[in-house]
Symmetry: C2
Subunit: 267 residues, 2 copies
């Protein structure tokens, strides 16, 4: 089963999942689609997020993927169940992996969730956490300023530091012991977030946890690549291919030069 | 799907899995069987381990379990594949979860594995790790003295400290950055093991990681208990029920009084 794993995101955020897959599953091939031109999904109406996510999904289905990973929390929140029902291949999101990792980590069962407006409004993390443990206390916070910071490459600046501190103020003294970064862009701000929240709060990256779940499902479905596979990775964006390649090269710490720009609008 | 999850082990070691399931999956009911009378499995011939594990499995199948967890590394190593092929319900072992957690944790891809003679001789961890990442370096070490220490309750004594230090000497300077406790008994010695290995080695409990995999498979198979389930837990041992209850109460930090002794020999 040396077919590729399809990974989709609203932009470059899903590369945090790719990075962990490259590390944890080096025999696997990846096809990534980032809908950079229409990013962020967070503030968009549900129907738009659904339509865009289906466009990326159909693009990848034509390329014979063996598994689909929706590496965008907003898209997972609104359309994972629908796509899973329609497709024959396994379809994974990023919300349950983050919820599971948080429930393993927490000691006091007080868990915080950061996400886009769309993700927080959907209540998807609350639903996931409560379906596993109904007694857990959850404090959610939408951080609409974080994705634009990351997509613009400004995520290490003094402005970023200030925005992160201001955004997190409402939950800084909430008593949570575990904080889920419920957006695949947020790991880029992890250092700043940890500085604000302090050492007593364990920070969980939902995207990065997803690689373990991918590994589990590949194994249980008997679709792992063979250990002599020659993995190939392909990257597609709806935006600028050179800007995507540049960001991907920096984040993945390996040269990515073959990004192709695609148009998804009419598919 | 409020049926119980069946968990089997050669003795009390699998309670480290139970503890994590109680914490991470509080809506789930558990039936546990510990083959204390015939523990340890580590030094036994493969055919014997297979026969004993099948006896526990058949005992639980009569009790309508929805999933079977082989919470014993030795049994996982020699009979997981066979039982998985025969049963219609999902069957989980403890080796792949430990391998996955180690591959997520490692930075230098130098991973150590501690286990019983049976587990180490089987090469099951090497196979699991290499099937996921063929370039990983693995240093394995059998620690036949650890299980008797734990089963006898001697795991906090000065003798335990000495035995752990002596046993780990061969891998203390091996350059590993991650160490898998490839036996569900070993987490009881975790403090002593960490003291010997130092802060630069991340210690992974394969059993305790298994609870996350249980959670993943329950979700993907649509067999999670409903969130208003009233979970019930049952414990069976082939040895002394009072001694089992005493150890279970101490490890699980909640009173376990209803352990029943069973005889599996002729099943």
């Amino acid at each position: 089963m040396n077919q590729p794993i399809g990974i989709i995101d609203s932009g470059v955020g899903g590369l945090t999942v790719v990075k962990e897959v490259l590390k944890q599953l080096p025999n696997e091939s990846i096809i990534y689609v980032g809908d950079t031109a229409r990013c962020p999904y967070g503030p968009r109406p549900v129907d738009e997020v659904k339509a865009y996510t289906w466009q990326m999904t159909r693009f990848l289905l034509k390329r014979n993927i063996k598994m689909l990973v929706i590496a965008c929390n907003t898209a997972t929140a609104v359309v994972l169940d629908e796509i899973r029902t329609e497709l024959k291949i396994p379809v994974l999101g990023v919300i349950y992996p983050g919820a599971r990792a948080a429930l393993k980590s927490t000691k006091g069962f007080n868990i915080g969730v950061l996400g886009t407006i769309g993700t927080i409004k959907s209540g998807a993390y609350e639903k996931a956490l409560k379906s596993i443990n109904r007694k857990v206390n959850i404090t959610s916070l939408a951080c609409p300023k974080f994705v634009p910071l990351v997509e613009s490459g400004e995520y290490k600046s003094a402005i970023a530091k200030k925005i992160v501190a201001e955004s997190l103020a409402p939950i800084q003294k909430s008593g949570i012991d575990t904080l889920i970064l419920g957006c695949t862009h947020y790991p880029l701000l992890e250092g700043l977030i940890k500085n604000v929240m302090g050492n007593n709060v364990k920070v969980i990256s939902s995207g990065d946890e997803t690689a373990r779940e991918i590994s589990t499902i590949l194994y249980f479905r008997h679709i792992m690549s063979t250990d002599n596979a020659c993995p190939k990775h392909q990257f597609f964006t709806t935006g600028s291919s050179s800007m995507f390649s540049q960001i991907a090269t920096a984040w993945l710490e390996q040269e990515i030069v073959n990004t192709e720009t695609i148009y998804l609008g009419d598919e």
